[in-house]
Structure formats: structure tokens, C-alpha cells
């Protein structure tokens, strides 16, 4: 698989992504989570590159040469604008349908990005990730709070950065170990200490957005939404249909016996599920053709 690394100056910062497949095909946008990088989607990029224009952005803070982002560049809306800029770059006409796949923090971003894409979004896939309002609604759920205690630790100033900068490999290892992702399935290129510590800002920025997001009436995603969930997730409890329905008009929930990184642990299975889902929502391509 030949991935092309593209980087452009966008909104005053270098923004980078990996690209595969034909530039005329529908766009398949993969948004990774913490503490991953775009390589985490290698199995999917390779599988879909013959039929889709696969775009895998580096999340803000991760790309080594992007400059020095201000804190507000980690907010959901700002990250969504970065994605829109990338899409404008790869499809200047804005006519090609977009399928968005988000995992972990990338899923929170996908939920936020969906209304910006409007009709252009032909389908969205959420893999072991929650929207910020969903996470907020789980505040009363003790089990979820125990699973995501680290989010609270990340809100502390300096301490997480000091830890990550002093023992970056250990911190990364701890995250993957807790998520039970086997060594051989971890991204080949590990995220740098700087990248990791900058990505922490996403947790902080997302938390600060909760009051704003709670004031906003939840806008239902009109495109079909598929939620794939590895039920042995150490960080997040599986969502229920009751929980998901306020956020999407048409939703399918698929549960697999896998960990947080279900698409790495069961790539063939997840690719098959994605393949079954994508052509269904491809009907909406007709309106752009």
C-alpha cells in the first residue's frame, strides 16, 4: 500500500494527512483517536483504497512540523474546520460524497463534523467512541466514570505533560496495555512525546466545551450512522439504542467481541461490516453525480 503524506498550510498551521486511492472516488475520511496516529487505520486504508479516496488526517497537535497551535485550535469546532479545509483541498468542487469513520476522540470529532458536512455526508461510522454530549450524559454512570478516570487526570495542568515527557514510551505502553491492544497491532511509528502531550489538549478543550454543547439542541445526523463497538472496551461502556437515538435519524449498532481497537483486533470483520454499510449509503451519491 502506497500512502501519500500531504501537508498544507491551513488556517495558519501546517495540516497533514495520509492519502490513498483515486482522487475521483467517494471520500472515506478516517479520524483517529488518542494516542494513535493515522497509521492505526492501515488495515482499512489498504482494503478500501481501490474504491474510495481514503483520507486519514493527523489530529491537531500530532504532526511534528505543524507549528505551535493555540489552545482553541483543539476545540471540536476548530478540529472540524481543519477537516473541512482538508476536504476542500482534496475535493475543491465539494461534490463528492463523504463517508466519515471516527474512533475514540476521532468519533467525538466525527459527531461534531457531521452537521458541517450536511447532505454531503453520506454515511458515518463510529467505532468505540462517544460524542461529547453523550459522555456528559454518562456523568451519573459510575461504571463509566471508573473506566474513564484518566480523563479527569488529564484535566490537571502540567502533571500529565511532565509524566508524558519523562516516560513517553511507558505512558503510551500503559494506554495500549490497558486497552489490551497486542504489541503487533500497535502503530509501527509511535507518537512522539510532544505529539502525545499536545493531544492531551483535546481532552481539556472537549471538556470545556460541555456547557456550550449542552446548551445547543442536539442536531440529529441525517445520514445513516453505523456504530461498531468492541464490547471488551476498557475505557468506554457500550452505548444503547436509547442513548444513541437522539443523535441520529437512522442508526445501526453492531457489537463485536473485541477490545477498544476493534478495527485493529478484527480488521477483516470490521472491513466486511464497513463494506456492507457503505454501498447502502452510497445511494446518496446519486444526488451529487
Amino acid at each position: 500500500m502506497d500512502s501519500r503524506l500531504i501537508s498544507r498550510e491551513m488556517r495558519g498551521l501546517k495540516t497533514a494527512w495520509l492519502e490513498n486511492g483515486s482522487a475521483n472516488a467517494p471520500i472515506l475520511l478516517f479520524l483517529h483517536g488518542f494516542p494513535d496516529n493515522p497509521q492505526i487505520w492501515n488495515f482499512q486504508a489498504e482494503y478500501f483504497e481501490s474504491r474510495f479516496h481514503v483520507i486519514r488526517p493527523y489530529t491537531r497537535g500530532l504532526f511534528p512540523f505543524e507549528g505551535n497551535p493555540e489552545f482553541n485550535r483543539y476545540s471540536l469546532d476548530s478540529l472540524s474546520l481543519d477537516c473541512l479545509e482538508i476536504l476542500r483541498e482534496v475535493d475543491p468542487s465539494g461534490q463528492r460524497p463523504v463517508y466519515c469513520v471516527g474512533h475514540d476522540l476521532g468519533a467525538a470529532l466525527a459527531w461534531n463534523l457531521a452537521p458541517f458536512l450536511g447532505n454531503r455526508l453520506s454515511g458515518m461510522v463510529i467505532i468505540n467512541g462517544l460524542s461529547v454530549p453523550q459522555m456528559f450524559r454518562r456523568f451519573g454512570n459510575m461504571r463509566q466514570q471508573l473506566k474513564s478516570f484518566y480523563i479527569y487526570l488529564m484535566q490537571l495542568p502540567w502533571l500529565p505533560e511532565i509524566l508524558i515527557k519523562s516516560i513517553p514510551k511507558t505512558m503510551l505502553q500503559m494506554a495500549y496495555d490497558r486497552g489490551e491492544l497486542p504489541q503487533e497491532l500497535r502503530p509501527k511509528t509511535a507518537v512522539s512525546a510532544q505529539g502525545l502531550s499536545r493531544m492531551l489538549n483535546q481532552y481539556r478543550a472537549f471538556s470545556r466545551e460541555i456547557p456550550k454543547l449542552m446548551r445547543r439542541a442536539p442536531e440529529k445526523v441525517r445520514a445513516p450512522v453505523l456504530v461498531i463497538w468492541g464490547c471488551r472496551d476498557a475505557f468506554l461502556a457500550a452505548p444503547t439504542l436509547d442513548e444513541l437515538e437522539p443523535f441520529a435519524a437512522s442508526i445501526t449498532l453492531r457489537i463485536l467481541d473485541a477490545n477498544h481497537w476493534v478495527f485493529r483486533e478484527m480488521p477483516d470483520e470490521v472491513n466486511r461490516i464497513l463494506e456492507n454499510f457503505l454501498p447502502v449509503s452510497e445511494h446518496s451519491y446519486e444526488k451529487f453525480a
Binding site: 463497538w229 464490547c231 457500550a238 439504542l241 436509547d242 445501526t252 449498532l253 453492531r254 457489537i255 467481541d257
Partner: protein, 346 residues
């Protein structure tokens, strides 16, 4: 990864396909035109005639038919109860826990099939009444009825409070149905052909879907995180056992009503004539037979006969009633030449 199929959507989808492909139609799937041959028994009896030692050939025939009708009615009532609890015991937990779409599909099929089975068993019982010229309402007085019973109210209350006694009961009923068919199958040439066919059709679908109750129990077990759910997980089996056993015993007691119906039909007269034989037994003897040795009845009452349910109870670490070890009396297949003294009652 576990060996369970609960989250194996490929295996579940294959099961959906299989169930759809082989589903039978209530009207066309069973040869109702065979009619009921009331000169033949419905079930093989044990040498003690369940609880009536020394019963005559005519009494054995009537008892075999009555027990057959009671079994039909019990399964039919249980399966009707299942469909009544669809929302509270199935749809709500599935919405609350996260499952694949195939679990919903399989559940839909499960309820459709259970409803069909209930209708099939009822239809058989009605055909028996038609053939014998018995008023179905009178026969119903002797048969188990769940609606309005304390048992049903208790199961609904349990489900509404987040419990799953219902699925323990369903799992047990599914197992009993399969074991029962093995007994019937062994004597298929000597019993009423339509009775055999209805149970064969029932068994075919039960065999394909009997794992559903176990999948539901597994799902509930995996998702029981709160203290309340943990309490239910521990006690619901016991709750189900106590209420279902109480219900079965109470409903069996109805056969003593036959004594007040002797003038209504000779069938009731023969049944009533068996009751003094039953009264020869002391209460402890009768209870021992019902729970330990009586075929069919002890199969229902004694959960030690339910191998899969017992195994699941261990997995759930659920409290299980300490029933005595079963020792079911071997069944005596009816002689092929055996015929009742009178061809038809009356």
C-alpha cells in the same frame, strides 16, 4: 475471545436465515386432516401410570391422553406468556443492553414461532374435543391456565423491576420440550399420529431457536453491573423455580375437578375413576413421585433435569433450589396391538 455466539453476528445471521428457511406454516405445515385418533394414547406412561398405581388399560389410555393434553396446554400457556412479556422482558432489556441487529431479528422470530406453537397445541386440544364431543370449556377446567395466575403476575413484576426470571423459565421450558420429544419419538408408531406430528413440528423449531433464551441470559449476565442487577442475577432463577413449580402443582390439582364432571362426558368419568388410585398415595409419596420419578411432571418441576439451565446457573452463580436427584421411572411403550376396551368414550 469467548466461545459464545452472543456477539458473533455471522453465526446469528446464519441462524436467522435457517429459521426463516425452515419455518413451517400453522395451517399447511401440520397435517390437521389426520384428525385425532382417540383410540390411541398420546404419550407413553410409566409402569406406575404416573401417580396412579394399578390403573386399568382404559384408565391408562385416558390418563395418557389427559397428560398429553395437559402438556400441550402447559407448553401453550407458557408460550403465550412469552409473547405477553415481549415488551417488558425482551424489547426493553435489548434497548438497554447493546446487541447486534440479528439479536433483534432472532427475537422477533422467536416470538412469532412461540405464538405459532401455542396456537398449534391449542388447535390439537380443540380437535380432540371435537372428535370426542367434549365441550372445550369443560376440558379447559382441567388444563393449566397461566393468565390471571399469581405466577404470571409474579413474573411480570419481576421483569418490570429489571429481573429476568422469565428467561430462566423460558430456558427451562425449551429444554423440557426437547426432552419430552425424545420420549414421544421413541414410541411414535404407537401413539396418535397427529399428536406426534404437532410435537415433531414444535421440536424442529425449538431445536433451531432454543439457544435464544440462553443468549438472553448470557447478555443479562454480562451486563449486570449494578447492585440491583447483581441481586436479580443471584435470585431470579430461584424466584422462577418457586413460582413456576407452585403454578404447575396448583394447575395439576385441577384434575380433581373431574370428579364433579363425571356426568358431562365419559372421558371425565374415566379420569375421575383414576383419582381414588391417586389418593392411595400419601402426600410425601405423591410429592416424591411428582418431583423425582413421575415422567413429564418431574421433568418440568425438577430443574436438575434441565442440564443446560443448571450449567448456566453455575456460570451466573445463581441460587438454585436444592431439588432431589431425579430418578424418572422408565416409560413403558404402549403395545402396538393394545386397544382400549371401548373404541370411543361413550
Amino acid at each position: 475471545m469467548s466461545d459464545s455466539h452472543l456477539f458473533d453476528h455471522v453465526a446469528l445471521a446464519a441462524q436467522v436465515k435457517r429459521q426463516r428457511k425452515y419455518a413451517w406454516d400453522l395451517d399447511k405445515g401440520v397435517q390437521w386432516s389426520l384428525g385425532v385418533d382417540t383410540t390411541l394414547p398420546f404419550l407413553p406412561l410409566d409402569s406406575q401410570s404416573i401417580a396412579c398405581p394399578g390403573a386399568s388399560q382404559e384408565q391408562r389410555l385416558a390418563l395418557s391422553q389427559l397428560v398429553g393434553l395437559i402438556i400441550n396446554s402447559t407448553i401453550s400457556e407458557m408460550e403465550s406468556v412469552i409473547t405477553k412479556l415481549r415488551r417488558v422482558a425482551w424489547a426493553e432489556p435489548l434497548r438497554e443492553f447493546s446487541v447486534n441487529p440479528e439479536m433483534w431479528e432472532l427475537g422477533d422470530l422467536f416470538f412469532i414461532e412461540e405464538n405459532k406453537h401455542a396456537l398449534a397445541f391449542n388447535r390439537f386440544n380443540q380437535l380432540f374435543c371435537q372428535t370426542e364431543g367434549i365441550d372445550p370449556e369443560q376440558l379447559d377446567r382441567l388444563l393449566p391456565k397461566a393468565f390471571g395466575s399469581l405466577f404470571l403476575k409474579a413474573v411480570i413484576a419481576n421483569a418490570k423491576s429489571g429481573g429476568h426470571a422469565f428467561w430462566w423459565i423460558v430456558a427451562a421450558v425449551e429444554e423440557v420440550s426437547l426432552s419430552l420429544f425424545q420420549d414421544i419419538h421413541r414410541v411414535r408408531d404407537s401413539i396418535d399420529p397427529l399428536y406426534y406430528e404437532v410435537h415433531k413440528k414444535h421440536m424442529e423449531e425449538e431445536k433451531r431457536h432454543h439457544n435464544y433464551a440462553f443468549l438472553m441470559l448470557e447478555l443479562i449476565e454480562r451486563r449486570s453491573f449494578s447492585l440491583k442487577r447483581l441481586l436479580h442475577r443471584k435470585t431470579d432463577l430461584l424466584f422462577g423455580q418457586l413460582f413456576s413449580s407452585g403454578w404447575v402443582l396448583g394447575e395439576l390439582n385441577k384434575i380433581f375437578l373431574a370428579e364433579s364432571m363425571t356426568n358431562d362426558h365419559p372421558f371425565f368419568q374415566v379420569i375421575a375413576s383414576c383419582l381414588p388410585l391417586m389418593r392411595q398415595l400419601t402426600i410425601p409419596e405423591l410429592m416424591s413421585r411428582l418431583f423425582v420419578s413421575a415422567p413429564y411432571v418431574s421433568l418440568v418441576l425438577n430443574t436438575k433435569n434441565h442440564r443446560l439451565t443448571s450449567r448456566m446457573a453455575i456460570t451466573h452463580r445463581a441460587f438454585n433450589f436444592p431439588f432431589p436427584d431425579p430418578n424418572i421411572t422408565p416409560l413403558a411403550p404402549p403395545e402396538p396391538t393394545e386397544r382400549p376396551l371401548k373404541k370411543k368414550y361413550g
